[in-house]
């Protein structure tokens, strides 16, 4: 029962946030000093064609009315039509969403798989070389512009060394796996298509490493500092005094507790990955949300901008909700009132 109440409150909260997001994005899109329609139709369009276009997209109606139309459409799952591609925004989003999800998950995986052990290693060898190394690399990771890193990475690993492909999700002449989730790696596994699996994994490496570097740095630092904190706690001294080996001390006690703050920020990390994906996708020719959003923003295609923003803005609260639900189950304290 408590869970239900908690869930309802959170979902209502998310809905309220989404309304806020939609109002703000709508307002921003319509503050536009210029008319995106002329650009969409091109240089040679006649005035009459422009007027017809505006009417078709309801751009000639007053703002509150446009917003109402939009919101009622939302309830039906209709996100309007993109001014640039002329397709329903929801179709555009469906097409680009999986690519971004795959990239973001891969980057998150890199961050976890590399960041956590690095943070632990750094903490237990505090003050010595590994610690300094990890801290330096983390500092760089948190300070490097991701688009610059991408350019360097492509130039080095694709162009100069030829080790890895430099763009797109899969080799040109490899047929992608049949769509189940839209994530090539998972779909290849499901279909047992190892050529597609290999190709899509190879194509994921460079963009995932580039996008994931920042999050790896964040997670490494977080893990290090919470590990240090835990290692310095009283009960740790007790465990050591009991004569437990250092390995056991770290593994059983320290790590588990040190990971709690790290898990907390995973939701936040995923949200920041979406932001980073915008630039990464542009550089790696990755057909995802980020590239779509950039094109939409340039073209002042506000139904598309609105759609992307709503979709991206829902990830963070939903992600947090999922993590909180997990806590609810995992933490015995909340379960027993």
């Amino acid at each position: 029962m408590r869970f239900l109440g908690f869930l309802t409150r959170r979902i209502v909260g998310i809905a309220a946030v989404m309304v806020g997001v939609s109002i703000i994005t709508f307002a921003i899109s319509h503050v536009v000093p210029a008319d995106p329609v002329a650009a969409a139709l091109g240089d040679h369009a006649t005035d009459q064609q422009i007027e017809a276009f505006r009417a078709e997209y309801h751009l000639d109606r007053p703002l509150p009315e446009q917003y109402l139309t939009y919101v009622t459409g939302l309830a039906r799952g209709d996100l309007g039509r993109s001014i640039r591609t002329r397709r329903p925004v929801s179709d555009d989003l469906f097409d680009s969403f999986p690519a971004t999800i795959e990239l973001s998950l891969a980057a998150l995986l890199v961050a976890i798989v590399v960041g956590i052990p690095a943070g632990v290693w750094s903490a237990i060898s505090r003050g010595r070389l590994p610690d300094h190394l990890v801290r330096l690399l983390s500092l760089i990771g948190g300070s490097i512009p991701v688009f610059w890193l991408g350019l360097i990475v492509i130039g080095l690993f694709y162009y100069q060394l030829g080790w890895l492909p430099g763009g797109a999700r899969i080799d040109t002449f490899v047929t992608p796996p049949p769509t189940r989730t839209g994530l090539f790696v998972i779909d290849s596994l499901i279909a047992g298509d190892f050529e597609a699996l290999r190709s899509s994994l190879l194509h994921l490496v460079l963009p995932a490493l580039t996008l994931g570097y920042f999050s790896t740095a964040v997670i490494a630092r977080m893990t290090r500092s919470s590990m240090l904190e835990v290692l310095g706690q009283d009960y740790m001294r007790t465990a050591r005094a009991k004569g437990l080996g250092e390995r056991l001390v770290i593994g059983r006690h320290a790590l588990r507790n040190a990971l709690i703050p790290t898990v907390t920020i995973l939701g936040l990390t995923f949200g920041s990955l979406l932001s980073g994906a915008v630039l990464t996708e542009t550089i790696f020719s990755w057909p995802g949300l980020g590239r779509y959003a950039t094109a939409a923003a340039i073209a002042l295609d506000f139904p598309a901008v609105l759609g992307v923003t709503l979709l991206a803005a829902i990830v963070y609260p939903v992600g947090n909700l999922v993590v909180d639900i997990a806590y609810f189950w995992l933490d015995p304290r909340t379960q027993h009132g």
């Binding site: 040679h44 179709d91 097409d95 492509i154 763009g167 588990r256 550089i283 073209a299």
Partner: protein
């Protein structure tokens, strides 16, 4: 042991699957790539190109460069140009045509070649031609004005008098020769009416279907278009002409010119379409690759608002024209990949005027300003973001002009503006100096002269608030002259006048730059905006 970690992983995995499930594309195989039937790497031409302008592959709807290029090889037209020659109309689906003066109108009668088939196997008939023209008029999308405004056509003006004869009736105000060039353009593409009619929904004349499918008779057909990703054309087995050696053509959407260059050098693609002059230079001498340039019909220019002081004084406009270092632009910025052209008709079209009287003359420019009573002028300069045709950044070009004009005491405030906003401002006659480019819609000099000189056409002249009824009338008259020599003389007269009196600083005519693998042969770019891919081998 690492219970927390495991639980966390489960949470993340669940979240991932939930997110992915919501994100599954609606069309199966939507992220498709080359299907095995296309013959694979050896016989598919892979072209890297920025195709973000693609909206539809329907010939009655499309008007964007990428769509024109792709679709030209999918649909055939009644008449066509052969190779890169834009001066002679040759037979296409029609073996002959015949212009008759019927008193109030001009009637063009086309006789179709017999035995031609669409990719579906259906025969090409006069009804298909009529259907194609009528649906273009009815849909009234971007290219429709070519039929309705320039051609003055209405739906009922096109008839099939028998299965192999089509009659199109044009008003006397329309130029018949210009109309024929319009028919060579993609809007003149003939679609398979039987097949398209069977795919019509909600009165859309089949445009939802033709958006990413094809129903034509050309050497290639559309296999699929994965939005934002790639367009694959595959060879049409029912093509009536010489069958292409290629089994397919793949247009891959890649925006970064550097990525295109890398892919070309590595052999991952065959043609790179968006290289800049610096990349062309970088590719020289590299093994396995070659470069080629071709004329485009575009003109990059600066529009001057003729009602904004002091641009209303023709001497001031002339001063701005005189001060620009055109040679420097072509040599240093474009690295030779462009031509110094200062008239409003590009090279390649009839009426091209070779005169280039302007080249950075600071003394003369200053003198002109003084004569006009101006010593220091300040103007706003609207500049688009991104790359200009010819492969240089608009910003670099603008910076060069700014420094050229600073030398004569003219200060310009560069305002880089997204295209959407720039076009809107320009169309509203609110610009002062606007940098932009123009390409003719069809390969006839009137396609430029009309917009540049006729205020009432509400095109370029209008945007620069330049109302000169005399020259406008001259332009209209010239459009209807049939004798080539007389027409050329008329256009010389017009272009000379605009050169010194118009509100334009024409900067250059860009070249279209291509990087190719050395084994690609037969790729010849026609400046109107396409290449005949049927003749390409690799």
């Amino acid at each position: 042991m690492f219970k927390q970690l495991r639980q966390t992983s489960i949470v993340i995995a669940v979240a991932a699957l939930v997110a992915a499930a919501c994100g599954a594309p609606t069309t199966p195989g939507a992220s498709g790539s080359v299907s095995p039937s296309a013959g694979g790497a050896a016989s598919t031409l892979v072209i890297d190109r920025d195709t973000s302008d693609l909206i539809s592959l329907d010939p009655a709807v499309l008007y964007e460069f990428s769509a024109v290029f792709a679709t030209h090889n999918v649909y055939e037209t009644l008449v066509r140009f052969e190779g890169t020659d834009l001066s002679t109309i040759k037979p296409g689906l029609a073996t002959s045509w015949d212009i008759k003066d019927s008193g109030t109108r001009n009637d063009i009668t086309f006789k179709l070649k017999s035995g031609q088939k669409f990719a579906s196997g259906n025969p090409v008939t006069a009804d298909d031609v009529v259907y194609s023209v009528q649906r273009a008029i009815k849909l009234n999308k971007s290219p429709a004005f070519l039929f309705t405004d320039i051609g003055g056509l209405k739906a009922e003006d096109v008839k099939a008098t028998d299965p192999t004869t089509v009659v199109m009736s044009l008003p006397k105000t329309a130029s018949a020769s210009a109309f024929l060039t319009i028919l060579t353009f993609t809007i003149g593409g003939v679609v398979d009416s039987k097949e398209v009619k069977s795919k019509e929904t909600g009165g859309d004349s089949g445009s939802a279907y033709l958006l990413d499918h094809s129903a034509g008779s050309g050497p290639f057909m559309v296999d699929h278009w994965t939005k934002n990703s790639e367009v694959l054309l595959k060879a049409n087995p029912n093509y009536g002409g010489t069958k292409p050696t290629l089994s397919g053509v793949l247009f891959k959407h890649v925006q970064e010119p550097t990525n295109q260059q890398f892919a070309l050098e590595k052999g991952d693609i065959d043609i790179a379409n968006n290289l800049g002059p610096e990349q062309i230079a970088a590719l020289q001498g590299k093994s396995g690759v070659t470069t080629t340039t071709a004329d485009s019909l575009q003109l990059v220019y600066v529009g001057m608002n003729a009602t904004v002081k002091p641009l209303d004084n023709v001497k001031v406009r002339e001063a701005l024209r005189t001060a620009v270092d055109y040679d420097g632009i072509v040599k240093d910025l474009l690295k030779g990949n462009g031509k110094k052209v200062q008239g409003i008709i590009p090279r390649g079209l009839a009426g091209y005027n070779e005169a280039t009287p302007f080249q950075a003359d600071v003394t003369k420019a200053k003198a002109l300003l003084t004569e006009a009573g101006q010593t220091s002028v300040t103007l706003d300069f609207l500049v688009p973001t991104g790359q200009a045709p010819g492969g240089i950044a608009f910003s670099d070009l603008a910076a060069k002009l700014k420094s050229d004009w600073a030398k004569i005491g003219v200060t310009v405030n560069i305002k880089q503006t997204a295209t959407a906003e720039l076009l809107a401002t320009y169309r509203a006659q609110k610009g002062q100096l606007v940098m932009i480019y123009w390409g003719p819609d069809y390969p006839d000099p009137d396609a430029n002269v009309g917009p540049f000189t006729d205020y009432n056409a509400k095109s370029i002249g209008w945007r620069n608030a330049w109302d000169d009824p005399t020259i406008a009338q001259k332009g209209r008259d010239a459009a209807l002259i049939t004798d080539p020599a007389k027409r050329a003389a008329a256009y010389k007269d017009i272009t000379d006048y605009v050169l010194h009196n118009g509100p334009y600083v024409v900067l250059y005519q860009p070249s279209e730059l291509f990087g190719l693998r050395s084994n690609v042969k037969g790729f010849n770019w026609s400046s109107i905006g396409w290449a005949e891919l049927a003749s390409v081998t690799k």
